[in-house]
């Protein structure tokens, strides 16, 4: 047997094997790529398909603007939930925004190395803590606090209220916004700061008059992303917010945001007609709102990065 021939065949097989493996991998990669590229549309279609049953018998405006939530009588008004969601998210952002902004400026422009060495793990751990743990903490620590605060103002409150939800939510989105903001402040060229300092500004003046203005679109979009993150938070809020399907009239009143509505009623949703469809419509609404906010913020941040 000619040994050279054997080697030649072997090499040929080896090459074919490699090419085959390459094309197999390539095909699988293309499949995963396509899968991810169409996933958002599948999500949208899936939710629309289910919520279509409700929209057949009820008009969109009657669902979005009616305050009556009586599934047993076939009345599905989303207004209390939408308003609760908006209030909670806005309050959470109002609490989180100043803390994040100040802390981000500190960490990006002032802080010593040892502070960063401590704070990086702290932010990482905080952002990794599951929603349900925040909820437990809210019940243990924040609920009694809020109840005590309500008592000071002579208001009857169990502590399970809009304010409690907002506080817990604020602490949940702090690490998320903080990470984005630090990134944004690091992206600003140091030459700007140096120029200001050489003109006799103090550091804070340089930040106030120059850096913040330069970073403004980035900061706004970071808050926008935080807002959309807060909008969809479920379990932690659900645990502390009280869950009463009425339009809240004060910050010590219980509220009932959209994600809590979906999560709370999965048990009975199959026993009442159109109930599951209504919940899927709520999920669809959540999906559209969050994606809309995300899109806006991301576009803003991309444009801003191009300019710098």
């Amino acid at each position: 047997m000619d040994i050279r021939r054997l080697i030649r065949i072997d090499r040929k097989n080896f090459r074919i094997g490699r090419v085959l493996r390459n094309s197999l991998h390539f095909t699988w990669m293309q499949i995963t790529f396509t899968l991810i590229a169409i996933l958002p549309f599948i999500l949208l279609l899936g939710l629309m398909y289910k919520s279509y049953f409700l929209l057949e018998s009820h008009s969109v405006t009657s669902i979005l603007l009616s305050p009556n939530w009586k599934p047993l009588r076939g009345e599905f008004g989303f207004l209390p939930f939408i308003i609760s969601s908006i209030w909670i998210t806005v309050f959470a952002l109002l609490i989180a925004a100043p803390i994040c902004l100040l802390s981000a400026i500190h960490l990006a422009l002032y802080a010593d190395r040892w502070v960063l060495r401590i704070m990086h793990p702290v932010i990482d751990i905080l952002s990794g803590i599951p929603s349900v743990i925040f909820g437990v903490w809210g019940i243990v620590a924040i609920v009694p606090l809020v109840a005590a605060a309500a008592a000071v103002f002579n208001i009857q409150s169990s502590g399970y209220s809009l304010l409690t939800g907002a506080i817990v939510l604020a602490f949940m989105i702090i690490p998320f916004i903080l990470n984005l903001l630090i990134e944004i402040f690091r992206n600003i060229p140091t030459s700007l700061m140096e120029a200001c300092l050489s003109l006799g500004f103090t550091r804070w003046e340089a930040i106030k008059y120059v850096i913040i203005r330069k970073a403004a679109p980035g900061i706004i979009s970071a808050f926008g992303l935080g807002l959309s993150r807060a909008f969809g938070e479920t379990i932690a809020v659900l645990m502390v917010v009280g869950n009463v399907a009425k339009i809240p009239t004060g910050i010590f009143q219980p509220a009932y945001p959209i994600p809590a509505l979906i999560a709370n009623n999965y048990g009975e949703m199959l026993s009442i007609p159109l109930y599951d469809s209504a919940l899927m419509l709520a999920a669809l609404l959540l999906f559209i709102l969050v994606t809309f906010f995300n899109l806006g913020s991301r576009f803003l941040i991309i444009n801003w990065e191009k300019k710098i």
Partner: protein, 287 residues
């Protein structure tokens, strides 16, 4: 006078900035502290090694082994499944598509959008799919839902690491005659292996901590799952259910389970830090 004022302002703001940084740290400390204080007394060996017995939800005997095992099965399954999709995809973005900038940017944008979608929406979607195919709540449905939910997280974090690998490495490998997939798996993935492990751990942490996406799809049961079509309990949901009970003993156990979950998350976080530290030390630097 004016000059003095501006220095006072500087120190004032420096003070409140430091205070807000400190505040964030205090949040973490009080959070972990209050969970530990409430939960440690409730922890016992029995809790980790037993499934709920009769009367468990009235404060009688039993533990949360069903939830621990369920959570591990669910997140391990979902992480494995997500890895099969995420690793090829992130390599595809960084090797095959490296030339077409617009495609890379748009897929990254899409993944960021997917990352932003709340997990409850994934849960609702998973439920829709489940109903469509006539499945019951099961481990399988839970795994699929969680997989969808963690894929964007995994791909984006892998992508962030692969992006930093030097281009010269790819060019050298390709010029020596290796195919693109060989370059991707044997050169790029090996170079970034610690970063990839970090991404996997991150996704695993998300998978084990998330409750909203499995609420509809995985169901809840007091028994250990026997097969992939059985419903399965998860740790976050078990905390949630036990805490909503009015009986103090059951609530105590919820705090105990919360300590367990916190412990798992902290462990994952420590591992993540270790691997990202190794990555910084070992990787080939750009010349």
């Amino acid at each position: 006078m004016k000059k003095k004022l501006k220095y006072i302002e500087e120190y004032f703001f420096r003070g409140i900035m430091f205070a807000s940084t400190l505040f964030i740290m205090i949040i973490l400390l009080t959070l972990i502290g209050s969970i530990l204080i409430k939960g440690l007394p409730a922890l016992s060996w029995e809790m980790i090694t037993q499934t709920p017995k009769g009367g468990f939800y009235f404060g009688k005997e039993g533990g949360v082994l069903n939830a621990i095992v369920g959570s591990l099965y669910l997140s391990l399954g979902a992480t494995a499944l997500a890895l099969v999709i995420s690793l090829p995809l992130s390599l595809f973005i960084n090797v095959h598509l490296a030339g077409t900038k617009w495609l890379v940017n748009s897929i990254r944008f899409l993944l960021d959008l997917l990352w932003g979608i709340p997990s409850i929406v994934y849960g609702a979607f998973g439920f829709t799919i489940m109903m469509y195919f006539g499945m019951r709540t099961s481990l399988l449905a839970g795994i699929i839902t969680v997989t969808l939910f963690i894929i964007p997280i995994m791909v984006r974090s892998m992508d962030e690491v692969l992006k930093t690998a030097p281009r010269g490495l790819l060019e050298a490998s390709l010029s020596l005659g290796s195919t693109k997939s060989e370059t991707a798996y044997f050169i790029l993935a090996r170079q970034c292996i610690t970063g990839i492990i970090t991404a996997i751990l991150l996704a695993f942490g998300r998978a084990i901590g998330d409750a909203a996406s499995v609420l509809f799809t995985a169901g809840y049961t007091d028994y250990l799952p026997g097969s992939i079509t059985d419903p399965v309990a998860t740790l976050p949901l078990s905390i949630f259910f036990q805490l909503s009970s009015p009986i103090p003993e059951v609530q105590q156990r919820a705090y105990g389970s919360a300590v367990l979950l916190t412990f798992i998350i902290l462990l994952i976080s420590v591992l993540t830090r270790y691997f990202s530290y190794r990555y910084k030390k070992q990787s080939v630097k750009q010349l």
